[in-house]
Amino acid sequence: MSFYYCGWNGCGQVSGHPMIISKPAKLSFDGPIVNVSCTWSVLAVIAGKSMTFMGFVENNINVRREIFLSNSAQPIHLSSCQSRTLVACSKGNCYDYSPESNTLRQLVKFTTSELDPEESASVDNSSIIKVSCSDYGCLALSKSGRVFTIPSPLVLPGLVVTDIACGNEHYALLTKCGLVYTWGSGSRGQLGHGDLEPEEKPRLVEALAGMQVCCISVGAWHNAAVTSSGDLYTWGWGTDGQLGIDDSVTDDDHDHRPTASKKLKTDAQVSVLQERNEKYRGIVLGCPSPVDTSADVTAVSCGSRHTVVLLVDGTIWGCGWNAYGQLACPPEECIRSIYLRQIFIPDFKGKISNVQCGGWNSCFIV
């Protein structure tokens, strides 16, 4: 099975390719691709029953290591940050792998001491199915929908959580009912509560409460959510246009759309575009706001400063930073895009089933 990879490759994540991969490179593995996670220095992949780390491993670049968990446990989910990778395995426990030192250790059972006895009894803390990792804090999600700020449990009475995500300094979770909660630092609008205040505990993102959200993703300082009706919402800090912009705020006739981009632009139009570019780069959206897409969105994934969406018609679109080819186009062609532009994978005719971004990279899973 395979996936396509583009973006920063300076630590030799994919050997034999240049430092900047702007034409997606195909990576093949034995067995289906279960999960992919990228950081600045490592690409981590679970394919079938095996786990592979590529890039800066054991103090050198261009290294590829296959890692096996003890007791024939199978990895089912992983998440990487600069210093570590957390792995959830089929037996329900959690491992911490350090690529720098190439060491793997099992995390001890998470504590339940902060819960009252009744709650504590109901916690199946040994059954972790999902992990999310940043250099500032890590989250784990249990089978029954409990969240841990590793190692302590988060007390969320009555909430069953289905997904978790870490930004550089904020966190988001999605509940079974389709509600989004965020907490952490809000100084760059990350939390979506309409202000720039920090939150110590998960707080409901009210602007999205009327809709059923089915997918969330978090970048360094921005967030994206997809509703069950296929609408895309973004909020946070748009350093490089990673929030995308809604059509309603543009003023010319869809000229910025890639479908129309072949049309020659007059100088005046170019200058309007530049001005708009200037305006929307670096914008902070303190509340989730809708982004127009040409078809319903089925999946979204955020890298550090870019966003990629997969639409129901099978097309892939991305916005934000592209200095390292993370939008699968050469940086000299487009260093950043404030609107969603279509991503093409050369020589590929099949269907992409999922997108997974991280750091300055994008992965398109076949």
């Binding site: 600045w40 210093s83 720098e100 720039l196 780069r281 670096g282 940086p331």
Partner: protein, 502 residues
């Protein structure tokens, strides 16, 4: 508000871009993004531009095309050994402070550094060609290190960011300068400009590691680059021009709103007199006749001079009505662009409260710290001026720039070098009548606008005694005591220097 934060701490670069300081306006992010662009545009994209320009021809200043072979300019080869000396041997392994830097970052930095000495010693041209390519790779690596570190610098509040990230930014900036110049991936002038910008970014965002023999000092690197660039530009043909006077560009502003009683004036008072009559009782005074010996008095109203000495330097510019207004934002630009668009162009923009003189020592040489700054609250003894204790800031912009009514915690001598400013002064006792902002960061800023007072909203302001009014002309200094409220408006193109001390 930035000013308070900057004024209150000995390290005024702390909270430089004040992300959270200006958080409720959420507008200063343009500035941050601008920083980003600055770093990004230079990397992969520009490199490509260089390739294309190398293979074709270069435009000269006059717009004609002239063939030019891509080799070291004489000037660059003279300055390179001096720059190289600034980078200590084994820089990534020498400093224990760097032990906590993620290993892949150090690895990429180290690899980039290793390329440079090979370039220095390469002899054969085929080998050199290969090495140039490697230098360009090194440039991409080091840019990625800078971009990655930029993300760390923007995570959490600026003052809480671990200093090590700023150390890395500083060192990586120096490596980038060397990689740029050695790569020869462009014409001499372009490379020098990019290198100088890298130095300024390093100065603005980084922090130097304490290091012997002036190693790692980006101020020196920037001065070397700036001087070299000036020579290259001069060589390329722009002939000596008549001075373009800043004051010619001014438009006079008609004062409205409140006016006050005239300020007391002294002609070059003795330190003792200044101390007893003004410093100790904390009373404002205008001091005349004390700046005649400043080289700046003659030089700074010549745009050409400022362009030559500092035109290519990158500085933060405040955009918008003033810092407490919702339209406020910050942007990084070169002084040349700032002069063209704002000072001459007349678009509102303010080089405000920037430690320009630490960044550009050439301009520091044009000013003299007034002897009055040696007075101290702790003792009335007259000592030698202690440079350490005085924060020197530049304030440069077109007519119409405003600092809203605020106070600073330190003694302040505002020296007017070019143009005219109007200052309204209110004593600390009437603070409640000025309705300071409740926000901690803006608590030294009044909500009342003395130029357009809203008496319905701020009724107490109606009953105060008239303020002291000062029209500060070039060559005059204004003493503003600590916590004395002041509102400042530039009536013409204006360049002032403030001295803050305790």
């Amino acid at each position: 508000m930035l000013r308070l934060v900057r004024a209150s701490f000995p390290q005024p670069t702390t909270n430089f871009f004040g992300l959270e300081a200006m958080a409720d306006d959420s507008v200063d992010h343009d500035a941050v993004a601008e920083r980003l662009e600055a770093s990004v545009l230079e990397s992969p994209k520009c490199k490509r531009d260089f390739h294309s320009s190398q293979s074709s021809q270069f435009k000269t200043a006059e717009g004609e095309t002239a063939p030019k072979k891509p080799s070291f300019g004489d000037r660059t080869s003279l300055v390179l050994p001096k720059l190289w000396k600034l980078l200590p041997d084994n820089v990534c392994n020498t400093f224990p402070q760097l032990d906590i830097v993620p290993k892949p970052i150090l690895k990429l930095m180290r690899d980039a550094v290793c390329i440079i000495p090979q370039l220095k010693e390469s002899t054969s041209s085929s080998e050199e060609k290969k090495l140039r390519l490697e230098a360009e790779q090194a440039l991409t690596s080091i840019q990625a290190v800078l971009d990655h570190t930029w993300e760390q610098l923007n995570t959490g509040h600026w003052r809480d960011v671990p200093i090590v990230h700023r150390h890395v930014f500083s060192i990586a900036s120096l490596i980038k300068i060397l990689c740029l110049l050695y790569s020869q991936a462009g014409d001499e002038e372009t490379l020098l400009r990019l290198a100088l910008k890298a130095a300024d970014m390093g100065l603005l965002l980084g922090a130097p590691l304490p290091s012997p023999n002036e190693c790692l000092d980006l101020t020196i690197a920037a001065s070397l680059l700036s001087t070299t660039l000036a020579q290259v530009v001069e060589q390329s043909g722009s002939s000596e021009q008549d001075p373009i006077l800043l004051e010619d560009r001014s438009t006079q502003f008609i004062l409205k709103g409140l006016s006050g009683s005239p300020i007391k004036e002294l002609d070059c008072p003795s330190i003792e007199r200044f101390c007893t009559d003004h410093f100790l009782p904390k009373l404002p005074v205008k001091i005349k006749g004390c700046m005649m010996h400043w080289p700046a008095s003659k030089r700074w109203n010549d745009i050409g001079y400022l362009q030559r000495v500092a035109g290519a330097r990158t500085v933060p510019i405040e955009l918008g009505s003033h810092y407490a207004h919702t339209d406020y934002s910050q942007k990084l630009m070169t002084i040349a662009d700032f002069i063209e668009q704002h000072v001459v162009g007349g678009k509102l923009g303010y080089l405000a409260q920037h430690q320009l003189f630490e960044q550009v020592p050439e301009l520091r040489a044009d000013i003299c710290e007034p002897e009055y700054c040696c007075l101290s609250d702790d003792s009335i003894q007259v000592e030698e001026p202690a440079n350490e204790g005085t924060d020197i800031n530049a304030w440069f912009g077109p007519a119409g720039t405003v600092s809203p009514l605020h106070y600073d915690p330190k003694h302040n001598l505002l020296a007017q070098v070019v143009g005219t400013k109007r200052i309204l002064l209110f004593p600390p006792e009437i603070s409640p009548s000025l309705y300071p902002h409740s926000d901690r960061l803006l608590s030294n800023t009044a909500r009342v606008d003395p130029e357009k007072p809203d008496y319905d909203q701020f009724p107490l302001f109606k009953n105060i005694a008239p303020p002291i009014e000062c029209r500060l002309e070039a060559g005059e200094m204004l003493y503003i005591p600590p916590r004395f409220w002041h509102h400042v408006r530039a009536l013409s193109t204006s360049f002032s220097v403030s001295f803050w001390w305790k």
